[in-house]
Amino acid sequence: MIVLLLTKAVPARTTRVITVGGVLRREEMDLVINPLDFKALQAADYAKRFNGGKLVAVSMGPDFKVKPLFNDLYLQPIEGIDEGYILSDRRMAGADTWATAYALALGVKKVLDVNRGAVDELISMVESGELPERVLQRARELYELNLIPNLLYTDKPGAPEGAVQRYAGGRSSREEVVEALKRVRVELERFLIVAGLKTSDGETGSTGPQTAEALSDLLGRRIPDITHVSWFEVDAETGTLIAERKTGSYYQKIRCSLPCLITILPDYRPEVPPVSRRKRARAFSYRSKSREVVVWNADAIEADPSLIGLAGSPTIVGPGIDIGGVPVQKFLGTTKVFTSKVEKFDFNGKTYGPFERFQKVEGLPEELIRELESKGLVKTFDLKDLISEVFGGVLAAAKH
């Protein structure tokens, strides 16, 4: 089973955000993996270990920033991701959720296409009567590229021989190998996409459902999404997912067919897959992790240039409005603040100011601070000041 994790690199600190005209300049900020995505990773990891397969992370963002972060996803205490894809292109910058969903869906489709293509190629080789040795050779190549699972070809010690290997060795019929190949092919259609509930930068939670919708368009079939999932079980064998989700003041337990997309609630607790699934999981697992993260640009995913980035975004972020000023830190009992508005003035040949009431005193010479203090223009920030600043604002906001 292919489990796809949608993930995003977000600004590490929301107090130091760089935007140009409302568009985040991700390439100029410290980024981290969106915290809620780690819950999604645990969920995706559970789904993969339960069924076997591979966990593929797909992300959009500047590749040189996102790539190092993918290490965190490979190196989780759980098994972590097996493959990583970054959609990176200046033309994709400034995307809103619509254009992001479109690009992510194209990325997901391409991952699926590559894996489908590998199995389809083997099926047509066998069906067209290609020499078994040639099939075996190709299967080995595809296995080494992590494109076909152990069920078809394996080099794992102690694992049952792969179907193609048995076929090439004359130990099974053509019908049997085709059946195994088709079983894998069916499994590829039963994929699961997992996303975090929302990102810490956009906070919209819209990209998950919109990616399911975008992928529905691309694949020509409706892919449902289930948001706010707190518990789930997914079985690629039957192609069903059973999930619990919160909606309104209810918990619902629902059954859904695969493929589907789920977004994970922060309350989610991963379970341990039962031992009885181990054999199955191994058969459908792939050779190893592909540590080389793949970067695709807009052309590689065949994106319509008018539907990506700013151009493809129906929404535009207007100029932001500061409602509380830049976050300036004030420490009770140590920070010095101006007690009233002070106009521009000269001191020792340099010009200072103007300063606002309650403005923090920063970068002024000690001597000047002492003089301002003696004039009562500067004081140490105290509890009364804190109350008037903090609650003065509340009062204004409540009245508004």
Binding site: T14, L36, T204, Y250, G318, G320, Q329, A398
Partner: protein, 372 residues
């Protein structure tokens, strides 16, 4: 430079009315829905349009007039057994078809599990923009300066949403219609229910796709009701494990801190007439202290596995501020942190930092507030 640009006025024609997707539970509109109807009125009156309530579900007869009683001018409803429970695919299909045929100018959802699922899908399918978690709606022109001219998109909705900590952002959908938003509860006051109001009620016949029914509901369970309204509070006073000891390291009865927090809550509510709620860090809840049983409950948890909130003021008492906690409150407009440890990570994001003993600071804070 922009003054030399030629001004070009753009109007997106052919779309009318402000729709509200009406959520209902047990035969009643949800309170948040009645708030959004009030928000829709504000916008619709500005541009001379109607407010239309959209109802979907099964056995809706008793509900049909409710949106009108709460301020809508008209109701469009789709009553079908297959819509008995909310499911994303059939609901998306029905609502998208309504939109493509009837061409609303705007469509407002509640920010809820349904609004945050149906809204994005419908927006994608109808190829328009979505602004999530909106706190206000203002009608204004959107101006875009391009090398080819100064484009003025007339009468757009500025969909106001909180943006990084101390800012708000206005989201515009200038070229596409409908302009879709999800509106956060607690930002508009519902209009009084008035049974004398009247309006058209129009039935919509649904058409579904074959693959719209892939989801089956196995079980529905009502969640225990909670009175704690962290998301709606203007001020949140949160307690962490730091309340267990004072500056000298002496163990303190956590009930003492809780009582002080309650006292602070009372004073702020009285003095400023705002909503105040008591929150908690995950650590304090999971400590399962006997003393705080029934007081510090799971529904008070702020952070990654609890609630994400952005009140006007967040007061962190004895909370060290692990990343998981910070993601749940860092959008608060003003953050006050009281902690003994000057190296506590909460001080990285607090606007007002009090390095000290909360058992000493809190009584002084309460006294000062009382004396205002």
């Amino acid at each position: 430079m922009s003054s030399q640009l030629q001004s070009i006025e753009v109007r997106v024609e052919g779309y009318r009315d402000v729709w509200v997707y009406c959520e209902h539970e047990e035969g009643k509109l949800t309170r948040a829905t009645t708030e959004v109807i009030a928000g829709a009125r504000k916008v619709a009156e500005k541009v001379g349009m109607k407010v239309v309530g959209v109802l979907m579900g099964y056995n809706l007869d008793d509900l049909l007039m409710e949106p009108i009683y709460y301020g809508a001018d008209k109701v469009i409803y789709c009553d079908d057994q297959r819509l008995k429970d909310y499911q994303v695919l059939p609901y998306t299909t029905v609502l998208s078809e309504m939109i493509l045929e009837l061409k609303p100018w705007a469509l407002l959802f509640v920010t809820s599990e349904i609004g945050k699922d149906l809204g994005p899908r419908v927006a994608y399918r109808t190829k328009t923009g979505l602004a999530a978690d909106v706190i206000d709606l203002i009608v204004e022109d959107f101006v875009m300066n391009l090398p080819t001219g100064r484009y003025i998109y007339k009468d757009c909705i500025a969909q106001v949403r909180p943006d990084f900590a101390t800012r708000i952002a206005k989201i515009f959908t200038p070229k596409h219609r409908p302009q879709i938003s999800s509106v956060r509860p607690g930002n508009f006051t519902p209009l009084p229910r008035d049974e004398r109001r009247s309006g058209d009620v129009v039935r919509w016949e649904p058409r579904f796709n074959d693959d719209d029914f892939q989801v089956e509901i196995l079980e529905t369970r009502k969640l225990p009701k909670s009175d704690v309204m962290l998301e709606e509070a203007n001020v949140v006073i949160s307690l962490g494990l730091g309340i267990l000891r004072d500056a000298s390291g002496r163990p303190r009865d956590p009930r003492e801190a809780y009582r002080m927090a309650e006292e602070l809550k009372r004073v702020v509510e009285e003095k400023f007439g705002v909503k105040v709620e008591i929150g908690s860090s995950r650590a304090l809840i999971y400590a399962q202290l006997k003393e705080l049983e029934g007081l510090i409950t799971k529904d008070r948890q702020v952070g990654q596995t609890g609630k994400t909130i952005a009140p006007d003021v967040y007061i962190a008492l004895g909370i060290s501020g692990a990343l998981q906690h910070r993601v749940g409150m860092q959008r608060s407009k003003k953050i006050v942190a009281v902690n003994i440890d000057p190296g506590a990570p909460i001080f990285q994001i607090a606007h007002y930092c009090v390095v000290g003993d909360l058992y000493d600071v809190l009584p002084r804070l309460i006294d000062e507030l009382r004396s205002i």
